[in-house]
């Protein structure tokens, strides 16, 4: 009886399918809700989001075993017969963190989007569609399914950007869609190339693909294809220019999703496909990745102080922080990769919170430019406090999650066996220079916004400080940031076995050579 029950719960009940499909399916009902204004829609959406988050947490708590590096909660249904296309889902330690992050950030972003009143039904539907797309791409175990999910969440972002953005929204939206669609072309080429290699029937199952080997030249070709696709998304310089424009124009709830989750899909893809499927090419490319990552840290940190727009400055800071993920991935050590995964989670929280704060302060002062601000600390002290705390988190203050992630990436680099001493010294040195540049831009941002004294004239002089909703959003982001910073094993323990499993591939390969 117990066995039957276990079999039922673990194997037969399609948890993941439900988790993936639930938001978009229920999202359709938004259009059938009675026309009673904004309130019903947003309440419904919040309800769906929370339910989804609870569902995910429940499924992961009771049906996922942390010490098993294999795929769990796997589902495998044939979808399109003649093409060999399967609806294949499954999660492991690597995707667990991003999925939970997605649930968390999306729920908070919906809560953050309450002030949106224009065409709110479509807005919330798009949010829910994005929710599905993101979880789907993190949970898919089939390359083509991954690609489809990847594309699925582009459309909502494009629409959210072009309909609810700022003044230059059309330009930004077009730029975004062209960039990402351009990247997707390479992704599609890679997917089909890998799938059709060596057999007449397409093989798209990630498990099977992970154990295959390719001729070096072909592997490098595939690697480059995937790298370009993920580099656009991550972003990796020089393919990053869509990001500041998009973030500068999008509504801040969209920004939260973009910075919190969408960028992480690129990093996730790098680990999931480039590292797992193409280990040989990855060990060839990893020095370049590290160099690019180091340059990115410095380059974006230097570009950031030159920005006048608040959101663009935060956007460049997140470009800079993504450099740490790339370095962690490139270091090919347990430590480095754990650091990269931790940075994915931690930066998801921090950047989402910063964009939310930037958006809410923009709502109050109606100035997007830093040099027009100043003296805001007195009218909005709570936002000031939280902005200070989160800027500190962003500049990797110990006790916050960013610090642990960056520190672990540093250790990943110096314990890496792959590189020579001089190279390691140089890279750590340059990375650490980024550590000096980060406070320069983030603290000067704080100084320009809040410090000083300014008399606000007439109309603008009446500000509300943060209300309970905004405080709730911020504190619920702040708590995990502090929690991870104080006890990082919360997140590290999720992925530690998977990381070892991925890296064992590399050691086997070194052994064979």
């Amino acid at each position: 009886m117990v066995r039957v029950y276990l079999a039922f719960t673990t194997n037969f009940f399609p948890w993941l399918t439900i988790i993936v499909v639930f938001p978009i399916a229920t999202g359709f009902f938004i259009f059938f809700l009675p026309h009673r204004g904004n309130k019903v829609t947003r309440g419904y959406t919040i309800y769906i989001c929370v339910l989804e988050l609870l569902l995910t947490t429940y499924a992961f708590c009771y049906h996922f075993e942390l010490d098993d590096p294999l795929i769990q909660l796997a589902e495998d249904y044939k979808w399109i017969n003649f093409f060999g296309f399967y609806w294949r889902l499954g999660i492991d330690g690597l995707s667990l963190g991003p999925i939970l992050l997605t649930g968390f950030i999306t729920t908070l972003a919906t809560l953050a989007a309450w002030p949106v009143t224009r065409n709110s039904r479509l807005f919330y539907f798009l949010m829910l569609a994005m929710y599905s797309g993101q979880i789907g791409s993190f949970a898919s175990r089939d390359l083509l399914l991954f690609f489809i999910m990847w594309e699925l969440e582009l459309i909502p972002v494009y629409l959210l950007l072009s309909a609810w953005g700022g003044k230059k929204r059309l330009y930004s939206a077009t730029k975004f869609i062209l960039y990402t669609a351009g990247g997707s072309v390479f992704l599609l080429i890679g997917v089909l190339g890998i799938g059709l290699y060596g057999s007449n029937e397409p093989t798209l199952n990630l498990e099977i693909l992970a154990n295959r080997s390719y001729p070096v030249a072909l592997e490098i070709l595939f690697y480059i294809g995937f790298l370009i696709a993920f580099a656009v998304k991550s972003p990796i310089i020089p393919l990053h220019t869509w990001l500041p424009d998009t973030h500068g124009e999008a509504h801040y709830s969209t920004c939260m999703l973009l910075a919190g989750i969408l960028l992480k899909m690129g990093a996730y893809g790098l680990i999931r496909i480039n590292m797992e499927l193409l280990p040989h090419a990855h060990s060839l490319f990893s020095p370049w990745l590290i160099i690019v990552g180091t340059m990115q840290i410095i380059y974006a940190a230097l570009t950031s102080p030159g920005q006048r727009n608040l959101k663009k400055r935060i956007a460049y800071s997140s470009v800079s922080h993504m450099g740490f993920i790339i370095i962690g991935i490139g270091s090919i050590t347990d430590t480095g990769l754990s650091g990269a995964i931790l940075q994915i989670i931690s930066h998801g929280f921090i950047s989402a919170a910063l964009f939310f704060l930037a958006g809410t302060s923009y709502d109050r002062i109606r100035h997007g430019y830093l040099d027009e601000m100043g003296g805001l600390a007195i009218p909005i002290p709570k936002i000031f406090t939280l902005f200070s705390i989160l800027s500190m988190a962003s500049l990797a203050l110990p006790g916050m999650s960013g610090f642990v992630a960056e520190l672990i990436v540093f250790f990943g680099i110096i314990t890496s066996q792959k590189y020579f001493l001089i190279a390691k010294i140089l890279i750590t040195f340059v990375m650490a220079i980024g550590m000096i540049l980060t406070p320069i831009y983030s603290l000067s941002m704080l100084r320009q916004m809040f410090y000083g004294y300014k008399l606000f004239n007439g109309v603008n002089s009446y500000f509300f400080d943060s209300g309970p909703r905004e405080l709730f959003v911020l504190i619920s982001i702040l708590l995990p940031v502090l929690g991870i910073g104080i006890y990082p094993d919360f997140v590290l323990s999720l992925s530690v076995d998977k990381v070892e499993a991925i890296l064992s591939n590399f050691f086997i390969e070194n052994f064979h050579k």
Binding site: T303, G306, R447, P488, S493, V496
Partner: protein
């Protein structure tokens, strides 16, 4: 009493509830929390007192048993790396924790009154308690990662507290400057930690030292690399302790409230760098280059700080430069390997300087009512003077602090400074000469502060008296002289250092005459409405409230008696003082066979020498900074002496003084240099990358977009659905196809 050690991990966490509660309260229930207000001060003081009792207990046990205790538990578990947390109790820790808690309690007590009218009273207490937490965490940490964590946290507290009055733009830039400068040091610290980890594979101090010394001994390690690591580690200490190249943040940090300056920027946080070097001394001592570098940096800072302190007009900035100079002494002592002297000076200086800062806070508090709240008025020594009779208790406390810092025998700093000077004679005569010379300078600038502040008459009142209404308040000379005519107007500040012999009076501070003169002057009706600020009718500065005076008076006891811990008492044959006894294990670790002899016969001539230098400094100060608004202009025996001085010599002297003044006023041009080189450079670079990003990288993207648009439009225009055009294109492609085939076959 093993369990005292067992529970000592609690030390840093005891004060933590206060900032957490206040923080949560201010965010969620602001009104209720603010209504409680002063009640919040009690738990913070109470909790810190618990820690103080605890650390006293610990150090008594350390004296009796001199044991080192360490306890560790793991932070992250992974196969490849594990970080551990732990606490490490040794004499250094117990000394530092006593220092932090005693000064901390007094400062908290003091600031209850000092900040009582401030909007941010609660915020202040939250920051302070958080600072205490992180500082206690820093001194009890058992490995380098933990040190780094708390190192950054104290830096952040310092940032928040410097920027406490965030509406002042000067405070806003000062706190950013402090944080970024400290980050430069942290950059070094982090890289040093990583490098050491790479060489030794450990963060724990004791393992680290053991492995490291073995490696050095067996020459298994690249010496250059290790030196680089040690240098980078030292960089962290340089920034935190405001040593020479990275000292720029400390004077600016005086923008924070004065209790902060007493606690953080004089007694505890700036001593963290000294603490770090002392902690890692077993490591540094293996590398002679680094030891030399440490003492070199130390001596440069000693001299630079002292010369910069000479002509500051802000009382707190003067004290800040003095702190910097004294920290240089400690660094010098560490570089010479005299661990005990450095720690001794650390303790004595911390108490004396905290006392001085609290005194200056009291002065500022009393001046604020008179001249307004802008720091360049209320802290301006040019506007003070004659406070002796208005704030007598503060004056006594301040004088004691000054005397202690100058090194007048029975007071604390005398013993420690003398020890450092003695050791420096053994180390290198040049360093010793500079150090002794600076001891004289110390006496000079400290008495300059004292005389300008307390002697003479209240200068605010005397702006009209001097007959120079048109001038700004700068006309009140900081150098105690009237403005001469030979100075160009374009350097208004140079004017401050001119001499005028007529207004010199006999050495004042023991003179009875001045008081007679005071009574004469104070009879005049002081109803002048002074030229800036609103018209207030405060006539005299008032003495501060009892709370402030109480903590100052308690703190007075420390400079009086703290010296005793380092003075050897001849008890039953063993010539050991408390400090040596406490530090025996650490000293033994450093010098395997050093027997510390204390010889009174050797001690006396050295002491006499240093005291005489000090008195010389005091004498010069008294000579130059006579209160110059005196009605007895021609009453001066010294005039006879000065009138004999040659005219040309006087010009030369003026030039030297001008030079010195410029040097000091412009902060040795180092700030300007950094502003010009680094800041401009980074700004330029940022501008450049921004342009590059927009024009080149984004430009390519936009260019591609626009080109494709035009190509599409062009095709639309050219195509225009005409058959002839399609035929043309068709033929064209056929032609190309044939050409390719043709060339292909011809090649084959």
């Amino acid at each position: 009493m093993e369990h005292t050690y067992q529970y000592s991990w609690i030390i840093p966490f005891v004060p933590l509830p206060v900032p957490m509660l206040i923080g949560v309260g201010l965010l969620l229930f602001p009104t209720a929390t603010k209504n409680l207000r002063r009640i919040w001060a009690f738990p913070s003081i109470f909790l810190l007192s618990i820690v103080m009792i605890f650390s006293f207990d610990l150090s008594i046990q350390q004296i009796n048993r001199s044991s080192i205790y360490q306890y560790i538990w793991s932070w992250t578990i992974n196969n490849d790396f594990s970080f551990e947390f732990g606490h490490f109790i040794d004499p250094l820790t117990s000394i530092m924790s006593i220092l932090i808690t005693t000064v901390g309690i007094l400062v908290l007590f003091y600031s209850d009154n000092y900040m009582s009218h401030d909007q941010g009273y609660l915020r202040f207490f939250a920051y302070m308690s958080f600072f205490n937490t992180s500082m206690l965490g820093l001194v009890t940490s058992s490995n380098l990662i933990q040190i780094y964590i708390f190192w950054e946290l104290v830096g952040m507290c310092s940032y928040l507290l410097i920027g406490f009055w965030f509406t002042r733009s000067s405070a806003a830039s000062a706190c950013q400057k402090a944080f970024v400068t400290n980050r430069v040091g942290d950059f070094g610290l982090l890289l040093g930690i990583l490098g050491l980890y790479w060489t030794t594979g450990s963060f724990e101090f004791r393992d680290l030292f053991e492995i490291f010394n073995n490696l050095i001994y067996n020459k298994e390690v690249n010496f250059l690399f290790v030196t680089l690591c040690a240098f980078l580690l030292f960089g962290g200490a340089v920034a935190k302790s405001a040593q020479f190249p990275l000292h720029v943040w400390l004077p600016d940090a005086m923008e924070g409230p004065t209790p902060i300056s007493a606690l953080i920027h004089a007694a505890t946080m700036v001593a963290a760098g000294i603490f770090l070097v002392a902690r890692l001394l077993p490591l540094f001592i293996a590398i002679p280059y680094i030891m030399n570098l440490i003492s070199l940096i130390g001596i440069i800072t000693v001299l630079l700080g002292a010369t910069l302190a000479l002509a500051q007009k802000d009382i707190k900035k003067s004290l800040a430069y003095s702190t910097m100079s004294q920290l240089g002494y400690m660094m010098l002592a560490l570089g010479m390997g005299s661990y005990r002297a450095a720690l001794f000076h650390l303790i004595t200086h911390a108490y004396s300087k905290a006392l001085l800062f609290l005194g200056s806070g009291s002065i500022i508090h009393s001046m604020e009512a008179l001249v307004g709240y802008a720091p360049d008025k209320s802290q301006n020594m040019a506007l003070m003077g004659g406070l002796r009779k208005h704030v007598p208790i503060t004056k006594t406390a301040f004088l004691l602090g000054t005397l202690s810092l100058c090194g007048i025998p029975p007071l604390a700093c005398f013993w420690s400074k003398d020890e450092i000077l003695n050791d420096s004679w053994l180390y290198s005569p040049i360093f010793a000469i500079i150090a002794s010379f600076t001891a004289g300078l110390t006496a000079f600038y400290m008495f300059r502060i004292y005389l300008l502040t307390f002697e003479g008459h209240l200068n605010v009142r005397f702006q009209n008296y001097s007959g120079k209404k048109g001038n700004s308040f700068y006309s009140i000379s900081l150098w105690g002289k009237e403005e001469p005519k030979s100075i160009k107007k374009s350097f208004p500040l140079v004017a401050l250092l001119k001499r005028n012999n007529n207004e010199r009076e006999r050495t004042s501070f023991f003179s009875k005459k001045t008081s007679r003169m005071d009574t004469h002057v104070t009879k005049m009706p002081f109803l002048t409405i002074f030229p800036f600020g609103p018209t207030k009718t405060f006539f005299y500065p008032h003495e501060s409230d009892n709370t402030m005076l109480f903590s100052m008076l308690i703190l007075v006891l420390f400079p009086l008696f703290v010296g005793a811990i380092g003075i050897p008492f001849n008890q039953e044959g063993n010539n050991l003082d408390i400090l040596s006894k406490l530090l025996t294990p650490s000293i033994n670790l450093l010098h395997q066979n050093s027997n510390h002899f204390f010889d009174w016969y050797e001690f006396l001539p050295n002491a006499t020498f240093s005291v005489s230098i000090t008195f010389f400094g005091i004498f010069i100060a008294a000579f130059l900074y006579k209160p110059f608004y005196s009605s007895f202009q021609n009453w001066n025996g010294l005039n006879l002496f000065t009138k004999r001085v040659n005219k040309s010599q006087r010009v030369l002297g003026d030039k030297i003084i001008n030079l010195l003044y410029d040097w000091s006023y412009n902060r040795a041009y180092i700030d300007a240099f950094y502003a010009l080189s680094l800041t401009q450079w980074i700004r330029g670079l940022a501008e450049l990358t921004h342009l590059f990003d927009r024009r080149v990288i984004d430009g390519i993207t936009n260019g591609v977009g626009i080109t494709s648009f035009f190509v599409g439009e062009g095709f639309k225009y050219v195509g225009g659905s005409r058959i002839s055009f399609y035929l043309l294109v068709y033929l064209f492609y056929v032609l190309i196809f044939f050409l390719i085939i043709f060339s292909f076959f011809s090649l084959v």
